[in-house]
């Protein structure tokens, strides 16, 4: 009896893969360890978000990045669901910087103009006030009443310069 040659499972079209993507990730600070992920799944099984989200699985995201599913990874809403709790990083038996690789992927998405609005708000607020949130005037008054020292005002010119130098200006709200 001759056995029929097994067809390898094809979930992805090789032509749609970008073989340069993983190198783009690995060039970034803390992105290098993407290459050593052996897909054991410790990250996903330790992930608090994965328990409540039907779409976010860190192991899957890393595999897609290794394979070169560039568009799919970068445009996925799930990419933004990592809480940065770092449980995956601490537990990875292979010492993959899982949470940091995910951060690199987000940074690359931002470079490609995929930016959840919250990051525009946060950066704009830091640019305009030095703080991540716009602190209402009322708070200042309440601080006085509570006997707290006045709110520091930072050096906004320097902060704005640093935002521009690091390419953060594109995050500012127009």
């Amino acid at each position: 009896m001759t056995e029929k040659a097994a067809e390898p499972p094809r979930n992805v079209e090789p032509a749609k893969l970008d073989p340069t993507f993983k190198h783009e990730v690995m060039r970034e600070h803390d992105g290098e360890t993407l290459k050593i992920c052996f897909q054991c799944g410790t990250c996903t099984s330790s992930c608090p978000t994965a328990r409540f989200s039907s779409s976010y699985r860190p192991r899957t995201v890393l595999r897609m990045a290794q394979l070169g599913l560039r568009e799919k990874v970068l445009s996925s809403n799930a990419l933004w669901l990592c809480t940065a709790c770092f449980t995956c990083t601490d537990r990875c038996p292979q010492n993959v910087e899982v949470a940091s690789v995910l951060r690199v992927l987000r940074n690359i998405a931002v470079k490609n103009d995929i930016v959840p609005v919250i990051y525009r708000e946060l950066t704009s607020s830091i640019h305009d006030t030095g703080y991540a949130y716009r602190i209402p005037e009322l708070r200042q008054k309440k601080r006085e009443e509570a006997g707290l020292p006045p709110l520091p005002k930072s050096n906004l010119a320097d902060v704005a310069k640093l935002i521009a130098l690091t390419g953060g200006s594109k995050l500012l709200k127009k």
């Binding site: 409540f52 990592c82 809480t83 946060l122 030095g130 708070r139 707290l148 930072s154 310069k161």
Partner: protein
């Protein structure tokens, strides 16, 4: 004893929404011999923008570290997010010459240079390493005997482990020990090192609130009368958002959430007013009444 002088890194979340943490910290820290100096020129630690732009995060954190270097003083912060960011950036820039050069090239444009001469710590680490448990014990005037609480360390106090180093991230004991110095009992509960969900509240509210809800459930099931936090963001999730979580899931928790500095302050004999307990959204009067008897 080493001098306990620190630059007080306020961060953004505390002045924005959680001033009760600052008020109570400014009460208890001088009692422990710690002297706090203001940082009038500081900016956001950088953590909120890390997902969008890592270099921006590094340079914002480094600018704060440079300010501390200029003052020749270590930083202490009440926020676990600020602590992890400043601590991590400090260590990375000290150890990675190439990264330090990249960041210093940016800093040079604002007349600064990172040298790596100071430390940045979270309150909990500073209480353990600089103040010391013995000293804290001596300040307890009114032990909170009979009160059972549960701790929530917050992710960034302990993780990533390679940048924290002062406790076991899987089974931490520091905050528990600090709580028990007040005379209160600190109960263990399921998944106590898990995330509060704060960082994704603006991305996916359901996931975020589900995380907080699960923790509130586990704390309640353990029999705790209050939850103790050491991070303004975690506190926002469990205290300010608690009624929203209750409505969303049709459950009642009614669980007071105190900052550690409020708990310690009560044990030191400060009044609830002095510790800004009335600013808490979940009314703590039940536990305050119980402590009177």
């Amino acid at each position: 004893m080493a001098e306990l002088k620190f630059l007080f890194f306020l961060g953004c979340t505390i002045p924005y929404r959680v001033s009760s943490y600052e008020v109570s910290a400014r009460r208890v820290l001088p009692k422990l011999g710690a002297e706090l100096f203001e940082m009038p020129d500081f900016n956001c630690c950088g953590l909120p923008v890390d997902p969008a732009n890592h270099e921006l995060m590094l340079v914002l954190a480094a600018r704060n570290l440079c300010l501390a270097e200029q003052q020749k003083m270590n930083i202490v912060t009440l926020c676990t997010g600020c602590a992890t960011t400043l601590r991590k950036t400090n260590k990375m820039l000290k150890e990675d010459k190439k990264l330090r050069e990249t960041i210093n090239d940016y800093l040079k444009k604002v007349g600064m240079e990172f040298k790596g001469t100071v430390e940045a710590k979270h309150l909990v680490q500073m209480l353990k390493e600089d103040v010391g448990l013995e000293k804290i014990k001596e300040t307890v005037q009114k032990p909170l005997t009979g009160l059972s609480v549960a701790e929530h360390c917050g992710c960034h106090l302990l993780r990533p482990a390679k940048f924290s180093g002062f406790d076991n991230s899987e089974n931490p004991t520091t905050l528990k020990n600090l709580i028990e110095l007040t005379g209160a009992k600190c109960l263990d509960y399921t998944d106590k090192t898990e995330c509060c969900g704060y960082t994704v509240v603006a991305i996916d509210e359901k996931v975020s609130l589900s995380l907080a809800r699960e923790k509130l459930r586990h704390v309640k099931e353990a029999g705790a009368e209050a939850m103790i936090t050491v991070c303004p963001s975690c506190h926002l999730m469990f205290d300010m958002q608690q009624s929203r979580i209750e409505r969303a899931f049709g459950e009642t928790f009614n669980l007071p959430v105190l900052h550690y500095t409020q708990l310690l302050g009560l044990a030191m004999g400060f009044s609830p007013e002095e510790l800004a307990l009335k600013e808490l959204r979940v009314d703590p009067s039940r536990i305050l009444e119980a402590l009177k008897t």
